[in-house]
Point group: C2
Chain length 240, copies 2
């Protein structure tokens, strides 16, 4: 069975958390919106669901007749199928909880450049963005990074992984979170990384995995840009 | 086994989505932070996890040794145990996707009064809140309500339920979402409800269920207030 991933073309965005799991597993998948006519097909499914429950927003995954929406939900579904989730049911919910905190962090990153509304341009909300970004970098970023550092260092099976003793989709997502944060806020991350060595070691270990290395060098990996969730606006980064 | 629910005392907030499922099922549970010393116990668990993976924020649920965090994750876990989830695995992921869109909507409601930072008072971000709330009420609220109206009216098993042909935790959460939105934005909801009759009918059907009726009349049901996610600030509601 070929998995069909639907996400906006041209940005890594939220879809990238799913792509990394599919790539690490060597899964057979199609990135639909990057194929000819794919974006139209995606918009049509969002409108009518094609007989199934329509998703509110991309990304979503189609497996046979089933449409699964939201990053954490897609990964919860794919995890066991790709060998990237813990065996035990309880730990799968622990993994899902960790993933949902990543979701929240990503939403807050989005709101650093869109604090007033997604329907407005960044340029229409720059002064509010400046305030929200400063609050995020001062209060929230260290809290999120410190939280995951604690999750790793207190993992009873060792600090190489966030849940259980093996690689999971949560580890891959933490790699991507660090990548995105480094792109968006290089100065702030420069000041924070020394405080979260286990998290950075996990990032580096993921980056060195053969399939991830190969994926990152391929044209399937889209570069970050200013249409993405993670945007680099120097005026929003730490200023010292 | 007694479920232990941990959530801030004094507000319905995000914990209420979990409470409604526990109440509808007649489950044996303790609302820990509302017991003497409960808030301290909750804060301690958030700090060190008590040997398990610590949650980033309330609500979380403890079942035996397991800590499950995030509303949607708790409900995904509880759903089958309480008879409030579809039988089929695929539909469980559909339910989870619908629940996660509720999560996103609730987060946007929160940000109407806190667009700049959770560490600041509403009074410190009133002008930005006014802009964000106007954008939410104009662009986002009709989109979310219309989305769920479509989910109900296109449900192949009938529009009485959001997923499958039986009551699920998603239906209970949609009831609570409508309750919260009516409290926060009575004028805006007044103008929107006529366009989503199936959603309002679902709300009314949930409110009339015997266990929910009894729960709503009890002192276990906390009233909305201005420390909650759903806050009524008349200046943020629709002005005409």
């Amino acid at each position: 069975m070929v998995f069909k991933l639907y996400y906006w073309d041209g940005i890594p965005g939220r879809g990238e958390f799913v792509r990394l799991a599919l790539e690490e597993a060597g899964a057979d998948y199609v990135d639909v919106a990057r194929q000819p006519g794919g974006t139209d097909a995606m918009l049509k499914l969002m409108k009518d669901g094609g007989g199934a429950t329509s998703p509110f927003a991309p990304p979503f995954l189609i497996d046979g007749e089933l449409i699964v929406s939201h990053v954490a939900n897609i990964l919860f579904y794919l995890g066991p199928r790709l060998g990237l989730a813990p065996e035990e049911e309880g730990l799968r919910h622990v993994a899902n909880g960790l993933q949902l905190t990543i979701t929240d962090c990503v939403a807050e990153v989005h709101d650093t450049h869109h604090p007033i509304g997604v329907s407005l341009y960044y340029e229409e909300q720059k002064s509010e963005a400046s305030k929200r970004a400063a609050n995020f970098l001062t209060e929230r970023l260290p809290k999120y990074l410190g939280y995951y550092e604690g999750v790793l260092t207190r993992n009873p099976t060792g600090q190489a992984h966030s849940v259980g003793g093996q690689l999971s989709y949560v580890d891959l997502s933490l790699f991507q979170l660090i990548e995105g944060l480094r792109y968006a806020f290089p100065k702030a991350m420069g000041a924070n990384e020394e405080h979260v060595p286990a998290l950075i070691a996990l990032h580096d270990a993921v980056a060195a995995r053969p399939r991830i290395l190969s994926y990152l060098a391929s044209d399937r990996r889209l570069p970050f840009n200013e249409s993405c969730v993670f945007r680099h606006y120097p005026e929003l980064d730490r200023q010292f």
